[in-house]
């Protein structure tokens, strides 16, 4: 399976929970208080609640429905609040995917050999932003090419999240000034508007 760019490192600080889509799979991406990043099936093994509505408690992600805790290391259930004295069997665990970060981008992959790192980003690029466009990857690439951005080098990463929705991650020349970054952000909006129209 392929590594998919699901967001920016700075958009998921410690304690944050985010929903992501990876090859059609609904996923939750979150970072523990101490900074461990995890990507799991967005489904609580207890009763199927979306874990992306949950909340971070230390090194655990707690489900919003009944507060069951799942640990960042391995996704094993560590607490069932309705029976706080019970040690949950370690067969209760979330389905974990591979996650990695490189150059400020978060990558998730459903499966594959663990030693294969996500694709390296061309040197000298900074993540600018990550946002959703209601269009297919091909149409966005086409729209972006038709509207070349002159002030600085940009690079676009795509993650298809539904047949008509794509997550776009935009990288910019690390040397770019804050004015150039502002212009680039505006360019993103223009491309979005044109492609969605």
């Amino acid at each position: 399976m392929t590594w998919r760019p699901v967001g920016l490192t700075r958009d998921v600080p410690a304690g944050r929970v985010m929903r992501a889509w990876v090859d059609g799979q609904d996923a939750v991406v979150w970072r523990s208080t101490r900074g461990v990043l995890s990507a799991w099936d967005n489904r609580c093994p207890h009763r199927g609640m979306a874990l992306s509505h949950g909340f971070v408690r230390g090194e655990d992600l707690a489900c919003l429905y009944h507060g069951w805790h799942y640990g960042a290391e391995g996704g094993v259930c560590s607490l069932i609040p309705s029976h706080p004295d019970l040690t949950p069997p370690d067969t209760i665990k979330t389905r974990a995917f591979q996650s990695a970060e490189s150059d400020g981008v978060i990558w998730v992959r459903l499966e594959g050999s663990p030693d294969l790192a996500p694709p390296a980003i061309a040197p000298g690029l900074d993540p600018l932003r990550s946002f959703e466009i209601r269009a297919r990857e091909g149409d966005i690439a086409h729209g972006a090419a038709a509207k070349p951005f002159e002030p600085a080098i940009l690079s676009l990463l795509f993650n298809p999240i539904a047949h008509d929705r794509t997550l776009v991650t935009v990288l910019i020349d690390a040397q770019a000034t804050s004015d150039q970054r502002k212009l680039a952000s505006r360019w993103c909006e223009d491309v979005r508007r044109e492609v969605e129209a």
Binding site: R43, R47, G48, M49, A50, L64, H66, P81, S82, H83
Partner: protein
């Protein structure tokens, strides 16, 4: 999916309020239903214009599309003198009607979903309680359920431990009996009648029979609506949407005894409408 079983149950499709607003269209078991007439004389027709039987019970209008409907169960407390009967309107939820009932039978979510209203951390523990299938009428009952609540009902000030009993007389109806120890003789009755619009969408009609003559009607309804809107934020985010009856698909714990019994009971009856029975 098993429509055959579901067709022969009775379902709420209107209350007085909704009828007074004139004719309306709604859905039942996937099909369109036309509702008109008055509360005293409701006229219910299916999409082909066929008149459907109706009855008024528990302050709601009921109908069935089956050829051999099972008799509608009773909730005897509704006839007890001194009780105030409170229909609470309707909340539409994009979920399986069975998931809506199961959620109503669940207390372990109170501290997390109804935070500071029906429960609060760290009071999350669920004490052992009793669940049985009562043979004479084939109903699911959960008794001796206890839970600490910071604000249990409109009439309660401060925190108390509340006693509960739950009763499931039909796959899409759940009745809750709620007692506050200061007034053990006064058992509030709170019910949900779930109208299955389809297997994945329902209208929930809460109805209460209370010993409370003081709280204004609007406040009682508003309180119940708030609770249900909180539940809706859960119910619309469960996967799969249909209730899985295969015990391997979701992992229960001890506090889920009621849910386990409810699912088994559905399975035994073949009440699969809104359930995921394919993997069985």
């Amino acid at each position: 999916m098993s429509l055959a079983y579901a067709r022969n149950d009775w379902y709420v499709i209107a209350d007085r309020n909704s009828l007074e607003q004139g004719p309306r269209r709604t859905r039942l078991l996937g099909d369109e239903i036309h509702v008109s007439g008055s509360y005293a004389h409701p006229v219910i027709k299916d999409a082909s214009g066929r008149m459907l039987p109706t009855q008024i019970k528990f302050d709601h209008v009921w109908t069935t599309v089956g050829d051999r409907p099972r008799p509608l169960f009773d909730i005897p407390e509704g006839n007890e003198p001194g009780r105030r009967l409170v229909p609470c309107g309707m909340v539409r939820v994009k979920c399986s009607p069975l998931r809506a009932v199961e959620n109503f039978l669940d207390i372990a979510h109170f501290p997390f979903v109804h935070t500071d209203v029906l429960g609060a951390e760290p009071y999350t523990e669920v004490e052992p309680y009793k669940v049985e299938i009562r043979e004479q009428n084939d109903e699911v009952w959960a008794t001796k359920v206890k839970f600490f609540q910071p604000l249990a009902a409109k009439s309660a000030a401060g925190g108390i431990t509340t006693d509960y009993e739950y009763r499931v007389p039909a796959p899409t109806t759940a009745v809750l009996y709620k007692t506050c120890p200061p007034k053990p003789e006064a058992q509030d009755v709170i019910t949900i009648f779930v109208q299955p619009r389809s297997e994945t969408e329902c209208d929930v009609w809460p109805w209460m029979a209370l010993y409370d003559d003081d709280t204004p009607y609007a406040d009682l309804v508003q309180f119940q609506q708030m609770i249900f809107l909180q539940d809706r934020s859960i119910l619309e985010n469960q996967r799969p949407i249909k209730l899985p009856l295969d015990p391997r698909m979701e992992i229960p714990t001890r506090s889920d005894l009621t849910s386990v019994a409810y699912r088994r009971w559905l399975k035994k009856r073949g009440a699969f409408y809104g359930a995921l029975a394919e993997t069985l």
